[in-house]
Amino acid sequence: MTSRAETLPRRARSANPGAAIGQGVATAYLTLIVLLPLAALVWKSTAGGADAFREAVTDPQAVAALKLTIAASVAVALVNAVLGTIVAWVLVRDRFRGQSVVNAVIDLPFALPTIVAGLTLLTLYGPQGPVGIDVAFTRTAIVLALLFVTLPFVIRTVQPVLLELDRELEEAAASLGATTFQIFRRIVFPNLLPAILSGVALAFARAVGEFGAVVLISGNLPYTTEVASVYIFGRIESGAPGAAAAVSVVLLVISFAALLAIGGVRRRVTRHDAVA
């Protein structure tokens, strides 16, 4: 594909007052809606001074909540990496009746409110659930709820890559003597890995901040099944928004650090794409 001009040549730009309006509107909107509130958050987190900040983030209950959140999110990200790839594979390479319906249903976690998701999982896998499984108020429940909300991410990042994957690469490998498993391991998987990593990053970011799906089914028992978002919510309700803000900032930093790390791995894995 030839590279197309993306930005307009300079003459066209200067004759376009719409452009300036557009840029102004975009910047103002974002400042008002996104930047200002976040600035307030960061500011207020340190409003009480460095000591108050440290106290808030080293509170044992906060630390427990953060640890639980990260552990659960990592677990969920890994499960998604495997199962998400399998589901994507089945949707792209397999043929069966109702496949397009299944493909559409994958997006349910995007469409269904998280509180409803939590409620339904509680109904099914909680007390008086029809299947006899009761995981309510356990850490398993947290993982379950997080698996629900993160389901589409890896699937949707892997699907297009699988679709675009040149079958001829696999045919070439076959003609060179590779077995099906060797073909997957050496040819298909390395090409899927960047997409899987993108999906994992998205899933992790989502899981770390999840509230609605978790809040009903986990029971929110401090130190045991209380995730970071619930803890922060508790601090707000207790009239300690500064402490809540401090822990929020820590949560944000952790999220971004994780995203940067995954992004770095992804870049390293795709270094072969750079043309000399």
Partner: protein
Amino acid sequence: MRRYALRIVALVYLAALLGAPLTMVFWRAFEHGLGPAWAAVTSDPAKHAFLITIVITLIAVPANTLFGVVTAIAIVRHRFPGKDLVNALVDLPLALSPIVVGLAFLLLYGRGGWLEELPFQVVFALPGMVLATIFVSLPFVVREVVPVLREIGTEQEQAAATLGAGWWPRFRRVTLPAICWAVAYGVVLTTARSLGEFGAVSVVSGRIVGKTETMTLHVEERFQSFDYVGAYAASVVLAVLAIATLVAMSVFKPKEGVIHGDRS
């Protein structure tokens, strides 16, 4: 053989995680018959919550759509100071916990905040809820339109310019038709997100029954009050909307390969 194994693993996983819970919502709502469910959903708090949800969505979605189109064009077609920041800020809402979002608004517009003294009430009232919903549903239209704008390039717009079209006719007759499907898909996603917002509005609204409750908050409130039929009935309404969203998503979803041109 291996193919069937994979298929079964995938389908069982999806059934257990998605299919079964969805079915349960309908079951539990209508367990005691249509009557109680209907009564619950037409109760005053429920109706009010529904109204609030609709109002918020009717403000958030058009706002984010307009912003989305304008910003996408700015990002793809123009260079301007702060463009990278704009790009990063657009993606930010997807990475933040809704509780943190709500907290941020609380800190900005609430007691002790920089914008505390405004002529109208923001937190614990509708405006705050609208702002929070706009925040969380902000990225979708932008993210859908940007790749399409990149893909089609500027040639058509340049051709229109050589034929004498100014910037507004170019936008209306060339750019807009090219991106309309992407916009439609983005609108579907934005609407779904607005309808489903829970955490951020929970913090910002104060959850005052009959006044600052959305449908999602109403579901939780009914559950905490042990009115399970009420909670499930309201959930059914949201689930039906979710299914409608899924249908709309299938219809408007950008088809892989169509944008990229022929791959014969």
